[in-house]
């Protein structure tokens, strides 16, 4: 490969990583349940994507979807290699794809961080207990047992609040992203 071609490829790769790393991290976290597992995989995904860049055909679909397909396959293979399973059925996977495909379509925001900011309005729909629990779990990275102790509630209640918060946010985001409610 000529030096010019290598430089172009490197520039394209850097632009791609910068533009899609956040989305990929969120997607893999949704798939695997753990941001740490997701983080381990993101770099490997980009290495693979750069190797396969010439195989991307824009007529067959858009780039983020292609990227997520590669990421999904690598996630499943990675878990299989560790003798672990990603517990997800086809409909659950479709649900994850619904949200990420809709996020791709947000015209007003090109950068992933701007797209995620759409969540801000929905956060205000959460009750104080749900909001505080989310903050402790997602921002302070506390374990559910620690949260239970600090809030003087049971661990079961902490898990229920997190589940309800995700349910409220799902409903709100379905409206914002104009996703058909599933019934």
């Amino acid at each position: 490969m000529s030096e010019t071609r290598q430089a172009e490829r490197r520039q394209l790769s850097e632009a791609m990583v910068s533009r899609h790393a956040g989305m990929l991290q969120s997607y893999l976290t949704a798939l695997l349940g753990s941001p740490l597992l997701a983080e381990d995989l993101v770099q490997d995904v980009f290495v693979r994507v750069i190797q396969k860049l010439d195989t991307f055909d824009p007529e067959k679909g858009c780039f983020p979807v292609w990227l997520r397909t590669i990421a999904r396959n690598m996630a499943f293979n990675s878990m299989r290699a560790k003798k672990r399973e990603v517990l997800i059925d086809a409909q659950e996977l479709a649900g994850i794809e619904d949200v990420f495909n809709a996020m791709d379509e947000i015209d007003e925001a090109e950068v992933w961080d701007q797209k995620v900011a759409v969540l801000r309005d929905c956060m205000s729909s959460l009750s104080d207990p749900m909001s505080d629990t989310c903050r402790l779990f997602y921002f302070n990275k506390k374990k559910t047992a620690e949260i239970a102790e600090s809030l003087c509630v049971t661990q079961a209640l902490v898990l229920k609040r997190l589940e309800r918060a995700r349910g409220c946010l799902r409903t709100c985001m379905e409206d914002k992203l104009q996703l058909e409610h599933v019934s």
Binding site: S26, A94, I96
Partner: protein
């Protein structure tokens, strides 16, 4: 769509929220010692 399938799809969308929530709070990182929702409302009312 059956009830079971629609519940599964909802669960999938909620898993997506799990991924988005990490990204959302990661953006808040520079703000150290985030107030609780109640503290935030009290401060907003006071100002």
């Amino acid at each position: 769509m059956s009830v079971k399938a629609s519940n599964s799809r909802e669960r999938g969308r909620e898993r997506a929220m799990h991924g988005l929530l990490y990204a959302y709070y990661k953006q808040q990182k520079p703000a150290l010692n985030m107030p609780s929702a109640r503290q935030h409302r009290q401060r907003t009312r006071a100002s």
